[in-house]
């Protein structure tokens, strides 16, 4: 009803022309002139993929000045033809969620709280721990003398929710370091 009322050739034009009727348009002029922000000048559009289930719906990300304005279904896609489910539609909401954590948090052993930590410092600390675990838990051979070249003290868990290239870097680095406990959601 609303759409028809505001449509210039619809009910509104009939009402407007009705003899003796003098009413104001129910929707203000400025509102009527509003357009979706995605059509604003300077808005860029990039092609993406929904990060939730494995259907692989194609999405369009609208952004300007480094800020995402909206994420919508891609009408060109033979999979989703522009549609998205509630989760896919919330991809934008996930990116801009006020509850998102965007800085490094550090919890000391036996501490009761999170602390802030500089990103590069965190990276150095993590690399040092990984190296120590490897050096202290290296297994050269098993009992029958067959080579092992491995370390069981560190696990890498996850992969199905990140990119293929990220999976590739994980398996390459961890297996090169001799880490055998590499696993993801495929079995879960």
């Amino acid at each position: 009803m609303f759409l028809r009322l505001t449509d210039t050739d619809g009910l509104w034009s009939k009402l407007k022309n009705h003899v003796g009727v003098k009413v104001k348009h129910p929707v203000s002029e400025s509102t009527r002139n509003l357009r979706a922000r995605i059509h604003d000048p300077g808005v860029q559009k990039t092609t993406s993929v929904c990060p939730y289930c494995a259907v692989g719906c194609s999405t369009l990300v609208y952004h300007r000045d480094g800020r995402i304005l909206d994420i919508e279904g891609n009408p060109e896609s033979p999979i989703n033809a522009g549609t998205l489910c509630p989760k896919g539609s919330a991809t934008y909401g996930m990116h801009v969620s006020p509850h998102r954590w965007t800085t490094v948090k550090y919890r000391r052993p036996y501490s009761e709280e999170w602390e802030d930590l500089d990103l590069e410092t965190a990276m150095d600390m993590i690399a040092e721990r990984l190296k120590n675990s490897r050096d202290n838990n290296w297994q050269e051979k098993q009992e029958d003398g067959n080579p092992l070249n491995h370390c069981k003290a560190v696990a890498s868990i996850g992969g199905a929710a990140i990119d293929n290239e990220e999976n590739y870097l994980i398996t390459k680095l961890f297996h090169t370091m001799g880490m055998v406990r590499v696993t993801n959601q495929a079995r879960i």
């Binding site: 036996y110 069981k152 994980i170």
Partner: protein, 844 residues
């Protein structure tokens, strides 16, 4: 997916969502597609509009059921009985596609006299009660050499992904067949006898499916499976998460072979997977037992001590895996560059070996137990909230708290990183050091996902991630750079591999983001001499002149173009939208869409065909077959490699090129599927003396008790499920206000009958109890959960969405705390879709 792997050769969905539009009938079982894959469900709905019949078989009446033409209820965990009933119906009514079955499956092949039909014990021939394993030699084809016992890894467990290597046997050769299918030892007759007890009456008794509903399903499927019509099957974790999941999927794979639906438009089996790149993370595996492209990781308990031994052990005589050395060598060249040479065996002597099961379940136990030499002290978590999602999640949380350090890459304060303050433990007693590394989300990074039909799509980075948030690629790349720096001066031989590792992807911008395009180029592969991308895995060499990170992704950078960026709608099968492995083939085994002479079975269902004049295969799809192999080509019995695959053999990865109705090896719990009750079942197995799958691996430990079969304390069955508005453990949904409003809290769905029995009203507080734990939630009382009459006993099912935890905007108890850790024999999957519990009113 070893149910598909063992039968067809590859463990991936065989068709595509879009191809479902070409189906004349779609059976959806083990999936609530309308709610769990809502947009994927568009395609069955389009098929329905075009006249297709849709069937839903499920323990719950869901929105999928409401939109299908036929709904057949089924008691949780009895799908093999149901599908076995369909197999029996097809054989008894001679509804199978005879020419297809005779030519494209191993139906005519004779088994050795060692094989005996299973009797009512429910145990196949070859069982060793002490070792609790089978001797595969009893399941051989006649004339097949006896193979030594597989490996030495006692209790080693293969993963889901290993399925791509299962359709193999030792040695080439031609085995006797009977094309009339009458020989009593032919696979066909063995199959017929094996499934003869799966009658419609038995289905009704065991599954609780009314006989009329079952027969209607059977009739509909058969009417829509012939040269002119095709039926497709869609499944999801409702089939995989069982103590016999691989065999369950295999039953459907057998059915599709008998009906001649595999490799044809509108046919096949659509595995509906649940994460954006769960397929990709198996293809380019972050798994302990395989390298990218399903290349086996060296195993200290196999004959893998030297490069030569490794190649000899892993190279198949016939079928696609005869190419193994090319793929393994190309990985070593991609990873270690110039340092890997034929003279030093491509550094194989320095390379990692496994020596047992290092998968998720033993790993969480090793976190908790910290046994000498096995214990885990540190863990890196890349987008997996297993403090909520792991089976027996409490055990996982206890394990996490016992680590020395934990690094979690995520966007929200998930339960996995916050584990030190959960479960009422005093943080002052928890020693784990935790690094929460804020992760970039999809629109903030370049990269690819491989979705459910093996199709790879690139996503562009739109904006920088906020503040310190970085991509997981950034993290691993910079961690790797630091590690290389820390080891650069080492003279210890064990560190040579780290020093040799190629890691020069380059980075860009202030934040030094690694250039993902260069990673994808390495995955695709290149010729070492000029670094030019290669176009196909047939170009890969074993002499070290090619490098390739994941051979099955060869061609994703065809002609120097990133094919995963393709976005052309085009016509079915939409070959220019994204890119599918292998070599952009959209429907696997599509040689089977043509008859043995190479002509389409029908005009309506044509896909690829032999072009006499050009002497090559043409088609709407890329042929999944050697392009110039004549349909009349017949392999010499002494042939090896692809030459051993005849022109009428569409299943090119399997050793004999045939679809395997009977598996002469490869599956640990039997050559044919058998109905067993779930590990935890309220009732006895009516079909065999064996109660549950004899191959299931249990962890008998005090913190992982099992509910014994028919334990009166746990009379109900639980089946867990997903809601449309939440995603797996909620890590990507419970912190988003929109989704929280749509689906604000946890609940347990119970039938009106059970509610009346217990005096429970809708929205009442209830407690669900197992021997592992308790769940406090509220009742959603509906008439959507059928109650089964089992030999006079009423059986109730409780449906539990499992997305919840105490953190975030939407909170709830840990459903997976209720579940035991138990492992299916072949793929180590747990049983989330059928286990027992009690339920009481109130929060106890």
């Amino acid at each position: 997916m070893s149910g598909l792997g063992i039968t067809y050769g590859r463990g991936g969905a065989t068709s595509s969502l879009m191809d479902l539009q070409n189906s004349d009938c779609i059976l959806i079982e083990g999936s609530n597609m309308a709610e769990a894959h809502p947009v994927g469900f568009r395609h069955p709905m389009i098929a329905k509009r075009k006249g297709a019949k849709l069937i839903h078989v499920d323990p719950r009446f869901t929105r999928t059921s409401a939109l299908c033409d036929i709904y057949a209820p089924i008691r949780p965990g009895t799908d093999i009985a149901f599908l076995g009933g369909l197999v029996n119906y097809v054989i008894q009514n001679e509804a199978y596609f005879k020419e297809y079955v005779v030519n494209y499956t191993n139906a005519p092949t004779l088994l050795s006299e060692d094989y005996e039909d299973m009797d009512d014990t429910g145990i196949f021939v070859g069982w060793d009660e002490q070792k609790r394993t089978y001797d595969f030699n009893k399941w051989r084809y006649e004339g097949m050499p006896i193979s030594p016992a597989v490996g030495g890894s006692q209790g080693a467990i293969t993963g889901e992904a290993y399925s791509n290597r299962v359709g193999q046997y030792d040695g080439a050769g031609e085995f006797p067949t009977d094309p009339t299918l009458q020989h009593p030892r032919s696979v066909f007759q063995v199959l017929k006898r094996h499934f003869s007890r799966y009658t419609p009456e038995m289905v009704e008794k065991v599954c609780g499916t009314p006989k009329e509903s079952f027969l209607e399903v059977a009739k509909t499927i058969c009417e829509n499976s012939n040269p002119d019509r095709t039926t497709s099957i869609c499944y999801s974790v409702g089939w995989t998460q069982h103590s016999k999941g691989a065999q369950l999927i295999r039953t459907s794979a057998i059915l599709q072979l008998l009906l001649g639906n595999m490799g044809r438009p509108g046919g096949g089996i659509m595995a509906l997977r649940g994460h954006a790149t769960i397929q990709g993370s198996t293809d380019i595996a972050t798994l302990y037992n395989i390298l990218p492209g399903y290349v086996a990781i060296p195993d200290a308990n196999k004959t893998h001590n030297t490069w030569k031994e490794y190649l000899e052990t892993e190279t198949a005589h016939t079928g696609w895996w005869s190419n193994f050395p090319k793929y393994a060598t190309s990985i070593m060249k991609a990873w270690y560059g110039d340092a890997a040479t034929p003279e030093n065996d491509f550094l194989f002597d320095k390379f990692v070996r496994i020596n047992g099961d290092h998968s998720y379940y033993p790993t969480i136990m090793a976190m908790k137990d910290k046994e000498e030499g096995q214990g885990v002290e540190g863990a890196f978590v890349f987008g997996q909230n297993f403090a909520v999602g792991g089976p027996h999640a409490r055990l996982a949380r206890d394990g996490l708290r016992n680590l020395d350090y934990l690094v979690v890459l995520d966007a929200f304060d998930i339960e996995t990183s916050g584990v030190w303050k959960l479960d009422g433990v005093d943080p002052k007693t928890v020693g784990v050091e935790v690094f929460f590394m804020p992760a970039a989300l999809v629109a903030e990074k370049d990269g690819t996902f491989t979705q459910t039909q093996r199709m790879v799509q690139w996503h562009d980075k739109s904006v920088d991630p906020p503040d310190d948030a970085r991509s997981d690629a950034w993290f691993v790349y910079h961690l790797g750079r630091r590690i290389k720096e820390l080891y650069k001066d080492s003279t210890d031989p064990r560190d040579e591999l780290i020093q040799a590792m190629t890691w020069d992807y380059g980075h860009e911008g202030d934040r030094q983001e690694p250039i993902i395009d260069n990673v994808l180029r390495e995955i695709n592969g290149y010729t070492v001499a000029d670094k030019k991308p290669i176009n196909s895995f047939v170009q890969l060499k074993e002499d070290g002149t090619t490098a390739c990170g994941a051979w099955i992704y060869c061609g994703i950078y065809k002609d120097g173009e990133n094919q995963a960026k393709n976005r052309e709608f085009g016509e079915a099968p939409h070959a220019n939208w994204g890119w599918a492995w292998p070599l952009n083939r959209r429907i696997l085994y599509n040689r089977a869409s043509a008859d043995p002479s190479g002509k389409p079975w029908s005009e309506r269902k044509k896909l690829v065909w032999w072009n006499e004049e050009e002497e090559k295969w043409n088609g709407i799809d890329v042929p999944d077959f050697e392009p110039a192999k004549n349909p009349d080509y017949r392999a010499d019995p002494s042939a090896v490699g692809q030459a051993a695959i005849s022109g009428n053999s569409p299943f090119i990865v399997n050793a004999d090129g045939k679809g395997w109705l009977f598996a002469p090896g490869g599956l640990k719990d039997g050559p044919l599927p058998v109905h067993y009750e779930p590990l935890e079942s309220p009732v006895q197995n009516l079909m065999y003396k064996q109660q549950y799958d004899p191959g299931v691996k249990k962890y008998d430990r005090p913190d992982n008790p099992y509910n014994k079969p028919m334990d009166p304390r746990y009379p109900y069955s639980i089946t867990t499920y997903r809601l449309t508005e939440h995603h797996t453990t909620g890590a990507m949904s419970r912190w988003i206000p929109w989704l929280g409003e749509l689906q604000p809290e946890s609940f347990a769905e119970i039938s009106t009958e059970l509610a009346a029995e217990k005096g429970i009203e809708n929205l009442d507080d209830i407690t669900v109890i197992t021997s592992r734990g308790k769940l406090h939630t509220r009742a959603l009382v509906t008439d959507r959960i059928p109650v089964y009459d089992f030999d006079g006993q009423k059986l109730h099912t409780i449906g539990l969405p499992y997305h919840f935890g105490p953190n975030g905007l939407v909170t709830g108890g840990f459903v997976n705390d209720l579940m035991p850790v138990s492992l299916e024999a072949n793929v180590s999957i747990h049983e989330a879709k059928a286990f027992t519990c009690n339920m009481e009113k109130g929060h106890l």
